[in-house]
Symmetry: C2
Amino acid sequence: MIAPGVWVDGRAEGLPADDRGLAYGDGVFETVLCVDGRPVWWDAHLSRLERGAAVLGFVAPERDVWQRDAERALAHADPGAARCVLKLLLTRGSGARGYAVRAPSRPRRVVSIGPAPEVDGAAREGLRLRWCRTALAVQPALAGIKHLNRLEQVLARQEWIEAEIDEGLMCDTQGRAVSAISGNLLCLTRRGWLTPPVDQAGIAGLCRARLLAEGLVSEAELRPDDVMAAEALAVCNSVRGILPVRQLDQRGWAVGGALRDLQRALARLEAAFHHSFLDDALA
Amino acid sequence: MIAPGVWVDGRAEGLPADDRGLAYGDGVFETVLCVDGRPVWWDAHLSRLERGAAVLGFVAPERDVWQRDAERALAHADPGAARCVLKLLLTRGSGARGYAVRAPSRPRRVVSIGPAPEVDGAAREGLRLRWCRTALAVQPALAGIKHLNRLEQVLARQEWIEAEIDEGLMCDTQGRAVSAISGNLLCLTRRGWLTPPVDQAGIAGLCRARLLAEGLVSEAELRPDDVMAAEALAVCNSVRGILPVRQLDQRGWAVGGALRDLQRALARLEAAFHHSFLDDALA
């Protein structure tokens, strides 16, 4: 059985079942927003993929290989949709039983294309969040990279089925707020926009990195109480941009000017994250 | 490309590349020692697989399905070898992008057959171990089960390349000794044979469980200092049985009578773990 819209090392076929990505989650991935056939923040995605593979101890393929993969997949994107999402997944490749890497790795690429999520409504109105009981383990050796060991997120996302809840917030096992299940956390306090560090748990998101690099956001440890007391909250990632939070468990927030300013700043950095409502002075 | 000796849902083909086992490590596995075509501790392996799937939130296939898988794979085992290892891997099945489980899962089986490791020498002479720098994260939500998120073990096993080192011992991020990379730790102290708990990190090994159930071993928290001061050490799992430790970093141990007694006790519980040297009064 071959999944549609998926290519393994450039071919539309299944994955060899001895792949270490399956056996141990031994690999990394990226999800790339594409607008009118252009992958947004392409170099940053490839840089993170390469950094992640290096942390795991193998070398990612050359960038022109990914470029050809992307072109092949984008040629199969829905021609009626301006936006789509390209997923790049890289494993260490096939291996014999056992954790040891016995031969030089031949990393394997799995590239797929799919629809982009509709985010205009959430970017305008905001998300409804809950705190998750599932905690992120503290693991400095793996924190930050976007590896394939994601059971914590899978468990956290299973904590609710209500359609009224859009996302979950996760703490680490030491009680510090870390991130949403699928995005980083932005928290407006008297000290400005803050986001938790990701050197103990969590993923170093590209939208987060861009906001940090521009000085729009600073890194700071946050407790759940800090989050609940925030003037404003948002979740960000490289596919959805900045999405305001309008509710977190029992507390609600009006989506105010500071959030629109931050969304506008991101839209100036990358036009893919512009929304027409940001032009509206009343927004 | 199809890996040899691997069956996906009973067919010799590749894995659909949208499988959540690949995407997130969303699944569990077992490695089963088979002797003369008989899977050792078969029911216990299936019980742990079922328990693990339940922790992740899905239902494992009926046992007769695994039975047929095992028979198919064993028919392809090397006819010249009395022992082989059967690997059962179960994923939640295919899924769309995103952590949410959007439809009832159709779990997928990946069954493979391979050679059994030669253990007679190690069972007699003992293993040479080192302490790993990579720590196991504390994650009570996943501890104990044999899930597919195994990057910590992959990183730990990459810490050395010297063929003189057979195994690594791992602590958790709070400094407690937990286990070997591929087996549980047994530690002889004045309080008898002890093994660390696996409710915060580590895997609840079947050999360990059997020794605990028989009262041959007790559970106790152990610090690296306790391990270094032990009268004897061993590593155990369901494929290799009990393997003595003859060296751990700078300290060496003679493999003495207490270890032989424990090996003999295990051999009485399960003949697959008998070694001819155990009959030798001088062994």
